[in-house]
Symmetry: D2
């Protein structure tokens, strides 16, 4: 596809390289022996520099207002893309599929969450949920967070509920008759979710599954803001081998 290959290393460019996330990705790419950083593009730079530098894969953590233009340009130039920018609805995804139809060798990965652990946690929780009588979610975050439960906890609880409904699981046992308001957490489609807010924490989630005599706990801890980097690098390494549109990191984890 790309004509700029040097040895075996994948040549990687970054769109939005001026931001915090973009800079962290530049650093992560530069620190990887099998990747070579080509060029970073910020809002006033010319995207043509990506092509000139023989870039094979571009990472885009930019803004909903510019990401579609970026993707049209990259696909037209035969460059694969790994996209963490938000704001993709079905219309936008269809548009991207249309562009990719013209360039059958190009791969684009669009994912709402690049933290591998968060994605794995959700998958494992959903897979295990139907074998247990009880499943609850405890999510723990720093106290500056505005919403409770977290978006990830919401999605996790919904996946659990869906998995149990498909398997025909009975409702979870709960003999509570006398309860202080809020003690039993929030009810997300029958799954109890508890939100802890604690100074010193970053972003953590625990799914607890229990049946007679045993419990299974799946815990994910994000200890700093760079936890998306390994997921982005995974995408960068695989996307050339996955032509067409891939939505969600799950697909690449091959579970």
């Amino acid at each position: 596809m790309s004509n700029g290959t040097v040895g075996d290393r994948i040549r990687v460019g970054v769109l939005g390289s001026g931001g915090k996330v973009g800079q962290a990705i530049v650093d992560a790419v530069s620190a990887s022996d099998d990747l070579e950083f080509t060029v970073g593009i910020d809002k006033d730079d010319d995207r043509a520099a990506l092509v000139d530098a023989g870039t094979q894969v571009v990472v885009d953590f930019t803004h909903p207002s510019v990401v579609m233009g970026n993707l049209e340009f990259l696909i037209a130039n035969g460059i694969h893309a790994v996209v963490g920018t938000t704001g993709f609805d079905d219309d936008r995804l269809d548009t991207v599929r249309g562009w990719l139809g013209e360039q059958p060798g190009v791969g684009v990965l669009i994912a709402p969450n690049f933290a591998i652990g968060a994605v794995l946690s959700m998958r494992f929780a959903a897979a295990a949920a139907r074998f247990y009588d009880s499943v609850e979610v405890v999510e723990l975050h720093h106290p500056h967070k505005a919403d409770a439960p977290s978006g990830t906890a919401f999605r996790t609880a919904r996946l659990i509920a869906e998995s149990r409904a498909q398997a025909g699981c009975a409702p979870m046992p709960d003999a509570t008759t006398s309860s202080l308001d809020g003690a039993r957490g929030a009810d997300v489609e029958g799954v109890r979710v508890h939100s802890v807010r604690l100074a010193g924490l970053v972003a953590h989630q625990e799914v607890l599954l229990g049946t007679e005599g045993e419990t299974l706990t799946i815990r994910h801890d994000s200890l700093d803001r760079t936890s998306f980097a390994p997921g982005v690098l995974l995408g960068v390494r695989q996307i050339a081998g996955r032509p067409g549109l891939t939505v969600g990191l799950d697909e690449l984890l091959d579970l």
Copy 2:
């Protein structure tokens, strides 16, 4: 006090030996090298057998309706007592103190909770609470439990709140503006308490304390119904050396 000493072993009798708890205590006493089980008394048995057997310490896990008669008898006969029976209000405690005034060498320990770990957890949580910006309690129990939060969680939260009030701590930070009902748990005097109910669990509690850059977690797990036994044995071993009335296991832990 007692005239029935044999070697160095403490001679221990059990009131309520027919019940599950009583039987567990008989077993624990019998399994201890430094203790000698004398006699178990159930509801139709004559308490005089305790005296005849040279009993030095009696453990009472019976019923509020009979415990006062038991204590009057034991104290009159110079036998120390370790009591887990419930229902002691200030009047009852004063009556016991009165009896003990007549027998200055006798010791009586009355405690609502003999699980050492539960008692230590509460003490540690209260001691640490004023050094942290945030403190929350998560208690986890089997799904047959009727009340939420548990009594222990309630007491723990109150001790935390009291300790923080005395130290003049600021309210805990919490930027939550958008919350699903119950997500942030129950509010016990400003301390958030979350109650998980899960098949497979027994009785567990976690106190989470956090400040900038670090957290401290104090967790107590009761894995079976015999978790009161070590606390009872601790009482049995110490009560002869603590004449008068002692209320609560805390006193013996000497923290």
Copy 3:
């Protein structure tokens, strides 16, 4: 297959019903609305009673010295089997396959571990291992255990090592230059395994996976000896739909 169906409930017999495990299975079957307990066979009883009672599925937790005879009998009589008895090598499995060839509708499940959580933990750990820079195993058991690490921890570490080898993962980072003997645990094919022995514990295992900025923890707790029951019931419910030989509970979990 079986001619003794009554309504929709599966008719279940138990071989080895006189033992602790056998009795626990009888109890679990009896407590299940969709199962009906037919008859329990202990060492001096006649297996023919299973057939007379219209048994559809038999659970066998007996002894390596009798299990082959049991299976030959059950298969010949068109009864499905769920087997937790140990001692199956390739020869024995081939013999069972031979018998099943004659009775194509009969299903036999033979599994070394019926604790669903243990099986799920191993699968999840192996699936996740290749996405993380570091993976270590901490297993925690009661202090009466003779071997360290536990058999489950060994198997888990090997599955992790195998998964990482297949994915071409780099060796795990470890800058330790000054170490007290044993501090870094046992080395099982490059995976560090730590064995905690603690009074009060039963059987627990934690797999810790970490990469820059995030960790994933998969923890399994067996809190009593009945933790095999849900896995056995899962087998009982599914085995009629899985003719032939199935080895390992994994197959039924359909992950």
Copy 4:
């Protein structure tokens, strides 16, 4: 003591303000409503600026080669000191005590560890250790750490061993007869210590205590390098009320 008080705020200076730790302390002081930052002194600056600015308390995170000169100067000028610099042996402490004898109103706090949670963890572990049959330590750090176990784990294990020896505790039960090298961890005065090294972690420690039917776990997590700041601020707020030499943060925690 100091003549520069403005309102109720404590006036705080920082020695070593050019380093990472020093800068973090300047930030923490500046962010505190009850403290006022006066002046930061780096290696080429004149310490007299501290006096000119009416500084009441100085924080010293410098170097063993300069800290004694700093303390002599501060004490002579009636300024209290909170010191995290290492290298204090008995001789140095005696010298500081001598200087303080001349200035009876001045307080100096010298502590090897300002992470409140680490200090509390050690105290709680030592206090609880004698009530449990078994105690083990698991410490978990990033994989760039050179020593195993960590210094904190060593100290914790020694405090546990000392507390148990004083209480006359029996050796811990351990029936291990077949063990892979290292599985049971390092032996620090009879206390097993396990060192996990995992990418993504920072600095964490868990003390596990167990007796029949129950366990107690005390866990400390340092999630970033600023975890010393709350302990330093605690010292700054209390030192004026504690004339003379105080060694170790424990004294201020008033447990």
